[in-house]
């Protein structure tokens, strides 16, 4: 399990939590006291950055659990049945048990750019900037984001990235190729758009109740 400080889990509010971290199914939380090891996520005085644990239940101690968790990279939605053949746990289970209503994860790894595009589109559809635009429920947002990524042409990719500084810097090479092939659907192959799945509530989420996860843990 790797990656760096920029991959730390972030919890923006009690609505959503996006974690582009790298995790394997075997590192997953147990039902009680579950935690996810985030590599290099905490600043250390001696070694720069060190690993730390993200307590999956911490949100229920400080307020309502996030309603949505996006874990759009690696294989966050897969379950390791080799090391724990008698159980069926994984990141999705850990988060759902801790009170999260909806988990969007990934069945197989994809490149950084398709993962970023998919995540940005899901967030855009669920939390539109335009107040007059209708916010979509998670399942519908995921379905539309997958179709959008599948049909995204080079010209549309260029246009989408035009006002996004992070994409312009992080996807410079990809954008150069997109400009060369404006009519080509660059992510049309299923390995790029198909791996994201939703587990949990797909409809309009009811606001979660503070302490829900805590109650469940004590069951």
């Amino acid at each position: 399990m790797a990656d760096t400080r920029r991959h730390r889990a972030t919890r923006r509010d009690n609505l959503s939590c996006s974690m582009p971290c790298k995790a394997t199914p075997g590192d997953v939380p147990r039902r009680s006291g579950g935690a996810l090891l985030i590599s290099g996520s905490r600043q250390s005085t001696q070694n720069g950055f060190e690993d730390s644990l993200l307590d999956l239940s911490v949100s229920t101690d400080t307020g309502p659990a996030p309603r949505l968790v996006l874990a759009p990279a690696c294989q966050s939605a897969t379950v390791d049945v080799r090391r724990l053949p008698d159980e069926f746990v994984g990141l999705p289970t850990g988060f759902l048990v801790s009170g999260v209503a909806t988990f969007v994860g990934t069945l197989w790894p994809t490149g950084d750019v398709p993962a970023a595009l998919m995540t940005m589109r899901i967030i855009e559809l669920m939390f539109p900037r335009d107040p007059s635009a209708k916010a979509l429920p998670p399942a519908r947002a995921l379905q539309q984001a997958r179709a959008w990524l599948r049909d995204l042409t080079g010209a549309e990719f260029t246009q989408f990235a035009a006002d996004n500084q992070a994409l312009q810097e992080g996807a410079r090479t990809q954008l150069a190729f997109a400009a060369r092939y404006p009519s080509v659907r660059l992510h049309a192959a299923p390995p790029a758009w198909a791996p994201r799945v939703l587990i949990g509530m797909g409809g309009p989420p009811a606001r979660s109740v503070a302490g829900r996860g805590k109650e469940r843990r004590s069951e």
């Binding site: 990279a73 294989q75 410079r172 150069a176 997109a178 192959a189």
Partner: protein, 168 residues
């Protein structure tokens, strides 16, 4: 393991870099300097003698696709015309067009199983022509890099212009 050789390769012909040919309409032209590929010209494209030859990536044909996409050479592939595949010193294929664009756009995957058999690592090289211009003459000396260097090294300066660093 998917290798570069498994991609949809295009037909090509070899031509000496000092003797630019008329471009045939239906295949790539790989320009070589001796045995070394230095550029590749897309089908139905004419090379402007006043402009530098298009940059290419030269990579072993059996290199893993994911390793190639994660390499320093592919990180600087924005203006690369094609990937020229070699087996030893022989050019065995050209990978370009929308297939290359699709692969580059999707990028390498962060697979959690990254073990490989031991052996000499194969590293793709980016081959570019120097863009230094003096008195209307472009240097155009080709050089190979594993990644974009900083600072730029001195240019081999094949046309005997004023001494200069390599112009990316």
């Amino acid at each position: 393991m998917t290798t570069l050789r498994d991609q949809r390769l295009s037909d090509f012909v070899l031509a000496d870099a000092s003797d630019l040919p008329v471009v045939p309409p239906d295949r790539w032209i790989v320009l070589v300097d001796g045995n070394r590929p230095v550029s590749a010209i897309a089908p139905a494209t004419r090379l402007d003698p006043a402009a530098p030859a298009p940059a290419i990536i030269v990579a072993p044909a059996d290199l893993d696709l994911n390793d190639a996409l994660a390499s320093g050479a592919f990180a600087e592939a924005a203006d690369v015309s094609a990937v020229v595949l070699v087996d030893g010193e022989a050019v065995v294929g050209v990978w370009g067009g929308p297939g290359l664009a699709n692969a580059v756009t999707q990028g390498p995957t962060r697979d959690i199983f990254e073990s490989v058999l031991p052996g000499a690592p194969a590293i793709p090289l980016i081959v570019r022509s120097c863009r230094f211009t003096e008195g209307g003459t472009i240097c155009a000396t080709p050089s190979s890099f594993t990644s974009k260097p900083f600072p730029m090294p001195a240019c081999p300066n094949a046309r005997q212009l004023s001494a200069h660093d390599f112009h990316w």
